[in-house]
Symmetry: C2
Subunit: 453 residues, 2 copies
């Protein structure tokens, strides 16, 4: 008898779950139906800033697979179909408009919800999110409407990854860019000293950063369009506003249906992405709670990498192959022009919250052999457990070639290595790629030297 | 009472040993004397191709520290001083010219000896090594003597790292480049399929590769200058010849003095770099035998990274702080124009020799998100233990951004991770840096999918 899997939400987690379940079960065994409220599935929200910037030419480039491509793999996608309720007892999803989709298995992959603090005027036209492809299209259109020779000003609220990528994108399009932060520094998941490096670099790129200022109001012009913000420090005029205030879990559907919500505010699941009280229901991606590999505690980290892997775990289990999600370190990278930023594991705030006795070490080195053309400064910061020297977290800020070095440290943390072990490890060297001792090893040595001494 | 440390050989291993011993012992406690046969210490042989190419402008850029700088740290360097014998019983090094240097501790760091097969004509003028800075200067001078508009041809014997880097350098200087290999493919420490990728790329760069041809003779002109080579297949004219035939250990001083030589042909040392029968003598760097982290067997791998670390271990022990060298994976990277190459751990030949039952998986991916400008192809090959899935070795060949990914795999191998663990790991993602699943993870998944299935 054919069972039916219904997936709510057709982006990274949902489509990974669907695709993985399909790999393991034929259409005769398992019917797969995806409900997606927008008109597109399997798209790269992370690519929106580069599309706005013009570095990626076409919206369709950001779409990995279309509904037609999924249909060819016997996965039915209903776009424009918003799930409004889940009847857990009946095993049915109710869509807006009245359609009902019965399920044997359900994957909730409703994604993230961009933070929108209760600021008057935030809903005015001219204020843009960066969540869906439509947001990208709207920002592009708004930029296109600006006079070529008149004022071209963009204001970004928030200094996380998306905020900084959008700041670069607006500058690429010839806008004068202002970044307004409630926090003292951009990149809240970097430590203060590393965030300061980023902040200084933004200034050197010609961006204006107003930090440590809560926005009290979005100002609107006579037509009701956003034209500036008022903070508790000053008033800043602009021609468009982009929100990069972070992302929480989108759990309204799950919560209203009675699925358990965890202490992080995301859907509570076990390590197979399964809802504990409803073993036929799974949640994955930005809407789901997960756990941190270093602390062992529950966590909510909205990243596409995790969404893909969690979806795949859910799809495996549904397909009949046991699978467990291995946890997160929150490894993330970005760049703003030539400045590259990476982080993984615990920053000092997180280490402190988790109750670790920790130490920190920061080193400065070069991305290539010092004498090699294109050698740029790189700073590497390690957070290690005091005494044991176990790596807890790492941060890098530097020139081209810096960011992806975080993967080495993420792998070392993943494996439970100490700084001492990392210091002895055999990383590659050639003048175009690193100094004889890679900066990552230099950082590990700085810790181990003192641990030994 | 002041003891004396004598170091024979003033490059990576020797100067690391000297510097580390000095960090731990004052000049009143330990006198440090370095004997170096050339006129320069602490230089980057790895930088010579880039100096020849003109990418690095100045010879002095390749010198990390001068004898005067070492003198300021109370390390006495005698340049132009060739050690000719060690009297182990008397505890004395005899230098050419008659000077004797008594020691309490001795570090033998005589480095590597470039392979020079017994080919007639190999000693002719116009045939150049790439070992010392003087070699680089000689090649530069030879290139400068070529007519600007006449024939400008360079021939490289051997296709290892140095050979390919020199091929690029000669091409950079406007020479028509031919590479002649005794092996069927360049990069002997890559598997055949990965070496083929490199070979194809060299051809696409306009280099001529004659593979699988033993050189029988270096041809000389009427002035006795090298003007071509004759192989068992053909004869190739050229204006200069560069040798990139690999590197063995330079052990003549050690062997003649009675220090034990290991089965690899390099000086036998324990894991503290100490000669077993002469605990007051240490050897480090390209002249010393080491051990492979994966096989646990003795190995000889001539790389500057190991030389630095082994020297540091010897210096620590001499300085009174216990230290052990943690072994090698033979991690190495290079690039030829846009083509980047990396390898670590065991290739299939090595896995077979070591007696592993292994499997291999190769994947193709892109260095960045597929839609992102500058995304280039990357191939990742993993060698894993059959059954356990333990990572034994890895190879990458691809466009810019490929090479340093080998460090992630080197770290995973270092930590004893399986492909399955690697597949779950939390590596970074952003469109300018990688697809959602980093190619390294895609490769690990390819293994684990089959291991699971």
């Amino acid at each position: 008898m054919t069972e039916r899997l219904v997936v709510v939400g057709g982006d990274a987690a949902g489509m990974s779950a669907a695709a993985q379940a399909r790999r393991l079960r034929t259409a005769a065994e398992l019917e797969i139906v995806v409900l997606e409220q927008s008109d597109v599935v399997s798209y790269s929200a992370c690519g929106i800033p580069y599309w706005v910037a013009g570095q990626v030419g076409d919206r369709d480039d950001l779409i990995a697979r279309t509904p037609a491509q999924f249909a060819a793999a016997d996965i039915t996608v209903h776009i424009g179909t918003r799930a409004e309720a889940i009847d857990l007892d009946a095993g049915e999803v109710h869509a807006r408009g009245g359609a009902r989709f019965g399920y044997d298995r359900l994957v909730v992959a409703t994604g993230g919800r961009p933070s929108r603090p209760p600021i008057p005027g935030l809903d005015a036209p001219g204020v843009f999110g960066v969540h869906r492809l439509d947001d990208g299209a709207a920002i592009r259109a708004a930029i296109d409407r600006l006079p070529a020779d008149g004022p071209r000003r963009g204001l970004v609220l928030g200094g996380g990854y998306i905020g900084l990528e959008m700041a670069e994108a607006l500058q690429d399009r010839g806008l004068e860019v202002t970044v307004v932060l409630a926090d003292p520094l951009p990149m809240a998941l970097l430590d203060t000293d590393m965030g300061e490096r980023v902040c200084a670099a933004l200034g050197a790129m010609g961006m204006t950063v107003h930090a440590d200022q809560a926005v009290r109001e979005v100002l609107v012009d006579a037509d009701g369009r956003a034209c500036g913000v008022r903070t508790d420090v000053g008033t800043y005029e602009t021609d468009l506003i982009v929100l990069g205030l972070g992302m929480g879990p989108e759990v309204s559907l799950a919560a209203e249906s009675g699925l358990a919500i965890g202490p992080t505010g995301a859907v509570d699941v076990d390590r197979s992405q399964r809802c504990r009280d409803h073993p036929e229901v799974f949640a994955a991606g930005d809407c789901a709670q997960t756990f941190h590999r270093v602390t062992g505690e529950v966590a909510h980290v909205a990243l596409g990498t995790h969404a893909n892997k969690q979806g795949r775990v859910a799809g495996s289990v549904i397909g009949g192959r046991p699978a467990r999600f291995a946890g997160v370190l929150g490894t993330a990278v970005t760049r703003v022009r030539e400045l590259e930023i990476g982080r993984t594991g615990l920053c000092t705030t997180q280490a402190e919250e988790a109750g670790f006795a920790y130490r920190t070490d920061v080193i400065e080195a070069t991305t290539r052999a010092g004498y090699f053309p294109g050698a740029e400064e790189i700073a590497v910061k390690l957070v290690t457990e005091a005494g044991s020297g176990q790596l807890l977290g790492a941060q890098v800020v530097g020139g081209p070639g810096s960011a992806k070095r975080i993967d080495v440290l993420a792998t070392a943390i993943w494996a439970g290595m100490t700084a001492e072990e990392m210091a002895g490890s055999d990383l590659s060297y050639a003048p175009p790629f690193s100094p004889t001792y890679d900066p990552v090893v230099v950082a590990a040595r700085a810790v181990s030297r003192i641990e030994q001494g």
